[in-house]
Protein backbone atom coordinates (compact mmCIF):
# COMPACT_ATOMS: atom_id res chain seq x y z
CA UNK A 1 0.00 0.00 0.00
CA UNK A 2 2.95 2.29 0.62
CA UNK A 3 3.52 2.55 -3.10
CA UNK A 4 -0.14 2.85 -3.91
CA UNK A 5 -0.80 5.91 -1.74
CA UNK A 6 2.16 7.70 -3.15
CA UNK A 7 0.72 11.19 -2.93
CA UNK A 8 0.19 12.95 0.33
CA UNK A 9 -3.47 12.54 1.11
CA UNK A 10 -5.29 11.15 4.06
CA UNK A 11 -7.15 7.93 3.37
CA UNK A 12 -9.15 8.46 6.54
CA UNK A 13 -10.34 11.89 5.46
CA UNK A 14 -11.19 10.71 1.97
CA UNK A 15 -13.25 7.84 3.33
CA UNK A 16 -15.03 9.95 5.93
CA UNK A 17 -15.96 12.39 3.17
CA UNK A 18 -16.90 9.70 0.69
CA UNK A 19 -18.89 7.18 2.72
CA UNK A 20 -21.89 9.39 3.59
CA UNK A 21 -22.19 10.21 -0.13
CA UNK A 22 -21.96 6.52 -0.99
CA UNK A 23 -24.84 5.82 1.39
CA UNK A 24 -26.95 8.55 -0.23
CA UNK A 25 -26.12 7.32 -3.72
CA UNK A 26 -27.07 3.73 -2.90
CA UNK A 27 -30.23 4.90 -1.18
CA UNK A 28 -31.25 6.98 -4.19
CA UNK A 29 -30.46 4.37 -6.82
CA UNK A 30 -31.82 1.25 -5.13
CA UNK A 31 -35.51 0.59 -4.88
CA UNK A 32 -36.57 1.61 -1.40
CA UNK A 33 -38.56 -1.56 -0.86
CA UNK A 34 -35.60 -3.80 -1.64
CA UNK A 35 -34.68 -6.29 1.08
CA UNK A 36 -31.04 -5.41 0.43
CA UNK A 37 -30.37 -2.15 2.22
CA UNK A 38 -28.09 0.61 0.92
CA UNK A 39 -25.64 0.13 3.79
CA UNK A 40 -25.29 -3.55 2.90
CA UNK A 41 -23.97 -2.55 -0.51
CA UNK A 42 -21.82 0.28 0.86
CA UNK A 43 -20.15 -2.13 3.26
CA UNK A 44 -19.52 -4.63 0.49
CA UNK A 45 -18.26 -1.80 -1.72
CA UNK A 46 -15.75 -0.65 0.90
CA UNK A 47 -14.43 -4.17 1.35
CA UNK A 48 -14.00 -4.54 -2.41
CA UNK A 49 -12.40 -1.11 -2.69
CA UNK A 50 -9.98 -1.94 0.12
CA UNK A 51 -8.99 -5.09 -1.69
CA UNK A 52 -8.67 -3.19 -4.99
CA UNK A 53 -6.45 -0.56 -3.37
CA UNK A 54 -3.85 -3.10 -2.33
CA UNK A 55 -2.95 -3.84 -5.91
CA UNK A 56 -3.56 -0.56 -7.74
CA UNK A 57 -1.85 2.79 -7.82
CA UNK A 58 -3.92 5.64 -6.43
CA UNK A 59 -2.68 9.03 -7.53
CA UNK A 60 -5.24 11.31 -5.93
CA UNK A 61 -8.25 11.42 -3.60
CA UNK A 62 -10.45 12.05 -6.64
CA UNK A 63 -9.21 8.90 -8.31
CA UNK A 64 -9.92 6.88 -5.18
CA UNK A 65 -13.43 8.33 -4.85
CA UNK A 66 -14.24 7.62 -8.50
CA UNK A 67 -13.04 4.05 -8.10
CA UNK A 68 -15.07 3.51 -4.94
CA UNK A 69 -18.19 4.90 -6.61
CA UNK A 70 -17.52 2.73 -9.62
CA UNK A 71 -17.51 -0.35 -7.41
CA UNK A 72 -20.71 0.75 -5.68
CA UNK A 73 -22.38 1.46 -9.00
CA UNK A 74 -21.54 -2.06 -10.16
CA UNK A 75 -23.05 -3.53 -7.00
CA UNK A 76 -26.19 -1.40 -7.30
CA UNK A 77 -26.64 -2.29 -10.97
CA UNK A 78 -26.25 -6.00 -10.20
CA UNK A 79 -28.74 -5.70 -7.36
CA UNK A 80 -31.28 -3.94 -9.55
CA UNK A 81 -30.93 -6.67 -12.15
CA UNK A 82 -31.33 -9.40 -9.51
CA UNK A 83 -34.32 -7.72 -7.94
CA UNK A 84 -36.05 -7.28 -11.27
CA UNK A 85 -35.34 -9.97 -13.88
CA UNK A 86 -37.21 -7.99 -16.55
CA UNK A 87 -34.52 -5.37 -16.30
CA UNK A 88 -32.81 -5.65 -19.66
CA UNK A 89 -30.28 -2.95 -19.02
CA UNK A 90 -29.27 -0.80 -16.14
CA UNK A 91 -31.81 1.98 -16.09
CA UNK A 92 -35.27 2.45 -17.46
CA UNK A 93 -36.65 0.98 -14.28
CA UNK A 94 -39.49 3.30 -13.61
CA UNK A 95 -41.68 0.63 -12.11
CA UNK A 96 -40.85 1.61 -8.56
CA UNK A 97 -40.83 5.23 -9.47
CA UNK A 98 -42.86 7.75 -7.70
CA UNK A 99 -46.53 7.34 -7.54
CA UNK A 100 -46.93 4.06 -5.76
CA UNK A 101 -44.12 4.09 -3.23
CA UNK A 102 -45.35 2.89 0.13
CA UNK A 103 -43.18 5.12 2.25
CA UNK A 104 -42.76 8.24 0.21
CA UNK A 105 -41.68 11.12 2.36
CA UNK A 106 -42.22 14.18 0.33
CA UNK A 107 -42.59 15.39 -3.19
CA UNK A 108 -38.90 15.86 -3.82
CA UNK A 109 -38.06 12.29 -2.96
CA UNK A 110 -40.99 11.05 -4.99
CA UNK A 111 -39.89 13.06 -8.01
CA UNK A 112 -36.35 11.76 -7.69
CA UNK A 113 -37.46 8.16 -7.40
CA UNK A 114 -39.83 8.52 -10.32
CA UNK A 115 -36.85 8.94 -12.64
CA UNK A 116 -35.44 5.88 -14.38
CA UNK A 117 -32.55 4.66 -12.26
CA UNK A 118 -29.91 5.38 -14.91
CA UNK A 119 -30.98 9.02 -14.97
CA UNK A 120 -31.17 9.12 -11.18
CA UNK A 121 -27.62 7.79 -11.00
CA UNK A 122 -26.32 10.43 -13.42
CA UNK A 123 -28.10 13.21 -11.57
CA UNK A 124 -26.85 12.04 -8.18
CA UNK A 125 -23.23 11.77 -9.33
CA UNK A 126 -23.13 15.22 -10.94
CA UNK A 127 -25.56 17.30 -8.89
CA UNK A 128 -25.14 15.70 -5.49
CA UNK A 129 -21.71 14.07 -5.32
CA UNK A 130 -20.20 16.85 -7.43
CA UNK A 131 -18.33 14.74 -9.95
CA UNK A 132 -17.32 16.25 -13.28
CA UNK A 133 -18.91 14.81 -16.40
CA UNK A 134 -15.74 12.82 -17.07
CA UNK A 135 -15.66 11.39 -13.57
CA UNK A 136 -19.37 10.53 -13.54
CA UNK A 137 -19.12 8.90 -16.97
CA UNK A 138 -16.15 6.92 -15.66
CA UNK A 139 -18.15 5.70 -12.67
CA UNK A 140 -21.05 4.63 -14.88
CA UNK A 141 -18.72 3.31 -17.58
CA UNK A 142 -20.51 5.22 -20.32
CA UNK A 143 -19.39 7.87 -22.83
CA UNK A 144 -19.69 11.49 -21.69
CA UNK A 145 -22.27 12.09 -24.45
CA UNK A 146 -24.53 9.42 -22.92
CA UNK A 147 -24.09 10.94 -19.49
CA UNK A 148 -25.13 14.33 -20.90
CA UNK A 149 -28.23 12.77 -22.43
CA UNK A 150 -29.23 11.13 -19.16
CA UNK A 151 -28.71 14.34 -17.22
CA UNK A 152 -30.70 16.35 -19.73
CA UNK A 153 -33.56 13.86 -19.71
CA UNK A 154 -33.58 13.70 -15.92
CA UNK A 155 -33.81 17.44 -15.52
CA UNK A 156 -36.36 17.87 -18.29
CA UNK A 157 -38.53 15.21 -16.66
CA UNK A 158 -38.28 16.87 -13.28
CA UNK A 159 -39.14 20.20 -14.85
CA UNK A 160 -42.16 18.80 -16.70
CA UNK A 161 -43.47 17.13 -13.57
CA UNK A 162 -43.04 20.30 -11.64
CA UNK A 163 -44.83 22.42 -14.18
CA UNK A 164 -47.33 20.32 -16.09
CA UNK A 165 -48.18 21.77 -19.50
Amino acid sequence: MKEQLKNNFSLHEVLLDCVPKLRCYAWAVLSNNDVVKPDDLVELCLLEAKSWSTSNDIDSPDELQVQIFKILHGLCAARLRDANPSFDRYGDNAQDGGRGLPDKKDRIEVELRALPSDQRAALMLVSFVGFSYNQAAGVLDIPVAVLRTRLTKARETLYRRRRPE
Binding site: K2, L11, H12, R23, A28, E43, K50, L123, M124, R155
Partner: protein, 108 residues
Protein backbone atom coordinates in the same frame (compact mmCIF):
# COMPACT_ATOMS: atom_id res chain seq x y z
CA UNK B 1 -23.72 15.23 -30.24
CA UNK B 2 -20.76 17.18 -28.93
CA UNK B 3 -21.22 20.81 -28.12
CA UNK B 4 -19.48 22.89 -30.78
CA UNK B 5 -16.38 24.63 -29.61
CA UNK B 6 -15.92 28.39 -29.70
CA UNK B 7 -18.11 31.23 -28.43
CA UNK B 8 -21.86 31.22 -29.06
CA UNK B 9 -22.99 33.25 -32.03
CA UNK B 10 -25.38 36.08 -31.26
CA UNK B 11 -28.92 34.90 -31.85
CA UNK B 12 -27.96 31.24 -31.58
CA UNK B 13 -30.48 28.90 -29.97
CA UNK B 14 -29.10 27.54 -26.72
CA UNK B 15 -30.14 23.93 -26.32
CA UNK B 16 -30.72 21.84 -23.23
CA UNK B 17 -27.27 20.30 -23.33
CA UNK B 18 -25.63 23.69 -23.24
CA UNK B 19 -27.87 24.81 -20.39
CA UNK B 20 -27.01 21.67 -18.46
CA UNK B 21 -23.32 22.15 -19.07
CA UNK B 22 -23.69 25.76 -17.94
CA UNK B 23 -25.17 24.86 -14.55
CA UNK B 24 -22.71 22.01 -14.08
CA UNK B 25 -19.72 24.27 -14.77
CA UNK B 26 -18.82 22.10 -17.74
CA UNK B 27 -19.21 24.78 -20.38
CA UNK B 28 -16.18 26.17 -22.17
CA UNK B 29 -15.34 29.55 -20.62
CA UNK B 30 -15.76 31.35 -23.95
CA UNK B 31 -19.39 30.23 -24.13
CA UNK B 32 -20.45 31.36 -20.66
CA UNK B 33 -21.01 35.01 -21.58
CA UNK B 34 -23.13 33.96 -24.57
CA UNK B 35 -25.34 31.75 -22.38
CA UNK B 36 -25.76 34.53 -19.82
CA UNK B 37 -26.82 36.92 -22.58
CA UNK B 38 -29.23 34.30 -23.94
CA UNK B 39 -30.78 33.76 -20.53
CA UNK B 40 -31.25 37.48 -20.06
CA UNK B 41 -33.34 37.54 -23.25
CA UNK B 42 -35.21 34.28 -22.70
CA UNK B 43 -37.12 34.19 -19.41
CA UNK B 44 -38.43 30.67 -19.98
CA UNK B 45 -34.91 29.31 -20.39
CA UNK B 46 -33.85 31.32 -17.35
CA UNK B 47 -36.67 29.76 -15.35
CA UNK B 48 -35.51 26.31 -16.42
CA UNK B 49 -31.95 27.01 -15.41
CA UNK B 50 -33.12 28.27 -12.04
CA UNK B 51 -35.18 25.12 -11.61
CA UNK B 52 -32.25 22.89 -12.57
CA UNK B 53 -30.03 24.74 -10.15
CA UNK B 54 -32.64 24.29 -7.43
CA UNK B 55 -32.46 20.54 -8.04
CA UNK B 56 -28.98 20.54 -6.54
CA UNK B 57 -30.32 22.05 -3.33
CA UNK B 58 -33.22 19.59 -3.32
CA UNK B 59 -30.90 16.62 -3.55
CA UNK B 60 -28.89 17.99 -0.66
CA UNK B 61 -32.16 18.47 1.23
CA UNK B 62 -33.39 14.94 0.52
CA UNK B 63 -30.08 13.39 1.51
CA UNK B 64 -29.23 15.88 4.24
CA UNK B 65 -30.27 13.75 7.19
CA UNK B 66 -28.26 10.79 5.91
CA UNK B 67 -25.23 13.00 5.30
CA UNK B 68 -25.29 14.37 8.82
CA UNK B 69 -26.11 11.27 10.82
CA UNK B 70 -23.27 9.27 12.37
CA UNK B 71 -22.06 6.39 10.26
CA UNK B 72 -23.33 2.95 11.25
CA UNK B 73 -20.84 1.05 13.37
CA UNK B 74 -20.21 -1.58 10.73
CA UNK B 75 -19.15 1.04 8.18
CA UNK B 76 -16.98 2.82 10.76
CA UNK B 77 -15.37 -0.51 11.44
CA UNK B 78 -14.52 -1.15 7.78
CA UNK B 79 -13.05 2.34 7.47
CA UNK B 80 -10.95 1.93 10.60
CA UNK B 81 -9.65 -1.45 9.47
CA UNK B 82 -8.75 -0.11 6.04
CA UNK B 83 -6.97 2.92 7.47
CA UNK B 84 -5.16 0.93 10.16
CA UNK B 85 -3.94 -1.65 7.69
CA UNK B 86 -2.75 1.10 5.38
CA UNK B 87 -1.00 3.01 8.17
CA UNK B 88 0.49 -0.23 9.47
CA UNK B 89 1.99 -1.14 6.14
CA UNK B 90 3.19 2.37 5.53
CA UNK B 91 4.75 2.57 8.99
CA UNK B 92 7.05 -0.24 8.01
CA UNK B 93 8.70 2.31 5.75
CA UNK B 94 9.63 5.90 6.24
CA UNK B 95 7.36 7.50 8.87
CA UNK B 96 7.78 10.88 7.17
CA UNK B 97 6.13 9.37 4.12
CA UNK B 98 2.98 8.53 6.03
CA UNK B 99 0.10 10.92 5.44
CA UNK B 100 -2.33 8.55 7.15
CA UNK B 101 -0.53 8.66 10.48
CA UNK B 102 -0.04 12.39 10.28
CA UNK B 103 -3.67 12.99 9.45
CA UNK B 104 -4.85 10.85 12.33
CA UNK B 105 -2.83 12.83 14.85
CA UNK B 106 -4.95 15.12 17.04
CA UNK B 107 -4.94 18.77 16.05
CA UNK B 108 -2.75 20.98 18.23
Amino acid sequence: MNIKSGPLQKGAIVGERVLNAYIDNELEPEKVAGVKAYLAEHPEAKKRVQYYTDCVAWLAQVCGAMLREPLPERLESVIETWVQETVGEKSDGDPLDDPGEESLAPAR
